[in-house]
């Protein structure tokens, strides 16, 4: 009786799967249904076929948002992971009170309310008078309008993004580092491996699944970036994206269409178009992993 053999497995996953089906699958299905309807969440939905999708695909804002997103993730995901990995190694190399101090310090930006983090960075980025322009001024660099010059806005966001999220990923990687048996390092040292070689031959392979998590989750959440650009550009439901839409991202546009214009059907269609993009990128990640490490 194979079904009976598998029963314990199903019992263990049941609570999660049931909650998941009710509070995620059903809303997702419902959202998919409404994405084919003109729906403002109150009046009865009217079926419009692919109209919502067509309208979004032909809108310039969508093009702009996807283009911004592409550039953003190509830079922020690898850079963010690299920084987080570096921080984790750095923190891990200290022991005792100093280790705890650095760990706490690097995690500090994670606990800040997003509004506060955005406010302080808006101050730092202020043209002519802000801290960063003051420092650049020492080196004779002219004032840069970080949050209103379309050529710098995206990079200004990425810097804030890494400042905030590096600590988050660092904590996950640190937990992974602690799980690596110290005997492995000793063995590598006896084999004459230097610090760098130890990282390459012991740390990275042993951290494989954890790094895979950090990268995949980092990618998925970066593709849904919302609150940082929203707050940095001082956006509201009716006006968002910053100058020339240089910090317009899909989820921002979606929230605007949902709560600003009260077009929930259109917002849902937008969401599924983004989902398709995310699924595609994530599937690629899993494919690469499975090719490299068949399990």
């Amino acid at each position: 009786m194979p079904a009976r053999r598998h029963l314990p497995h199903y019992l263990m996953v049941a609570p999660f799967v049931i909650l998941f089906a009710v509070f995620f699958l059903y809303p997702i299905g419902s959202g998919l249904f409404y994405s084919f309807h003109d729906w403002n969440a109150v009046k009865p939905a009217t079926f419009v076929g692919f109209d919502n999708y067509a309208r979004i695909l032909s809108s310039r804002d969508f093009e702009r948002a996807m283009w911004n997103l592409g550039t953003y993730i190509i830079i922020t995901v690898p850079l963010g992971i690299l920084v987080a990995f570096g921080l984790a190694l750095l923190v891990d190399s200290f022991t005792g009170a100093w280790g705890a101090f650095f760990r706490g310090a690097y995690f500090l930006p994670v606990v800040l309310p997003a509004f506060l983090a955005a406010t302080i960075w808006r101050w730092i980025y202020t043209p002519n008078f802000g801290l960063l322009n003051m420092i650049l001024g020492w080196f004779g660099i002219e004032s840069i309008n970080f949050l209103n010059d379309t050529s710098t806005m995206l990079y200004s966001l990425i810097a804030v993004d890494i400042w905030i999220s590096a600590g988050f990923n660092m904590v996950i990687i640190l937990a992974g580092l602690k799980n690596i048996p110290s005997e492995l390092y000793e063995a590598a040292r006896l084999d004459g491996a230097n610090k760098l070689q130890q990282v390459v031959y012991v740390t990275i392979p042993m951290l494989g699944p954890v790094l895979f998590f950090v990268i995949t989750y980092g990618l998925i959440s970066a593709m849904q970036v919302f609150d940082k650009p929203w707050l940095l550009t001082g956006s509201s439901f009716t006006s968002y994206g910053g100058r020339r839409n240089a910090l317009l991202f899909p989820v921002m546009d979606m929230m605007g269409r949902a709560f600003g214009a009260v077009k929930f059907g259109e917002a849902a269609a937008y969401g599924f178009l983004l989902t398709i993009a995310i699924v595609f990128v994530t599937a690629l990640m899993f494919l690469v992993r499975n090719l490299r490490a068949p399990r």
């Binding site: 969440a41 109150v42 309208r55 009716t238 968002y240």
Partner: protein, 422 residues
Amino acid sequence: MKTSTRLQSGVAALALIAAGVATPALAQDVTLEYWVYSDFAQGDALALQQEFISEFIAEHPGVTINITGKGDDDLTAGQVAGAASGTLPDVFMNAAGVGAQLVSVGALSNLYDQWMAMPEEYRAQFDEDALNICMPNPGELYCLPYTGFGSLLFRNLTVLEKAGIDTTTPPATWDEWLDQMKTIKEAGFYGIPDQTLVFNSIAATYAMAGDESNWGIDWETRTTKIDPEVMTKVLQMFVDMVPVNSGTSRNDQATKDLFISNQLAYHAIGPWVDPTYRQAAENGLDYDYVLLPSVREGDHGGIKSYEIIGVAPGDNQEIAFEFAAFITEKQQMVRWAKLLSRYNANAAAMADPEVADLPLIARSVESVKYALQTHPPYFVDTVPNCYLSTIIDFASATADGEYTPEEGAKEMIDELNYCLEG
């Protein structure tokens, strides 16, 4: 004159009370949910709101009113969600600018008949312009205008004096103002924040050259009413202000800090920065507020905007309307204005001598006479995001020298019409 208005309002108040008494006693106890902007539910403002509530309850036994404060976007999100699940607050504030969305989700009941049934004395209290924003069509009234603001031009008198400018009279025209700002810049200070970065500061500048007939959206043809010639003039103003501006936006903290630390001469914004500047005045800041000049002498620029009180449809609608009518009534609006020095849409309250003497209110009353509405007309359709962002984009790009003012105005208007079509 003054006595007669006071008499009128007294009669109105009596009539209101009479109306309250005349309502048949409620069969059941009712609880009204009342949502306001977060400022209204903090500190002294909350205490006064609660006073209004207890006075209303005293006249209407069996009614309980819960007041809830929320931030700007949070009011909208909460009201849309509430409309979807049938748990709307009974009486709520929001901005006139999101009125169309609230009507589309059925969050606002049409108050027209109830309004018309109110005594004439009561209806005459309201500022006509403000009331009109709630009436998109004959026979429709979706809100009662509540509080609001008109643009003010804050002047740092220390900076002006150091630059050798006579501060006894504010600049009468745009040309005079620009000359002043040039002098200020030569003296080593900044004239004004960058006016091109925020929609409202662009609108306030537009009002210096344009008027109601060439501002806003014509929803029937889905085209912008912005006039290319006026916009050309306005874009030229932005170009002229480039050398004298601080590069910060009017909403930036840095702008306030420059003003406080005597580096910035002018700050055109709403009255909400006054508490900050008043605090700084204790440390020596010397400032006042005047009206924005215009290209025409005797006229003024600036924008105005109103917060509205809406009443949700449903079982409690009637008593909710009574409460809405009560809090927007003169007696309450006088007390509100006196406590916080904030302008509101009750013209009779604004004319009350004790209120009219408050300098911030006096200036605001003057300001709204000339100011343009931010997004007219209201309650018709949702102004798309691209409309606001297009105006900002072309204003900043022209100031940066990417377009000449003529090109910028023409392309902006083409783009706005394209945005409204889609």
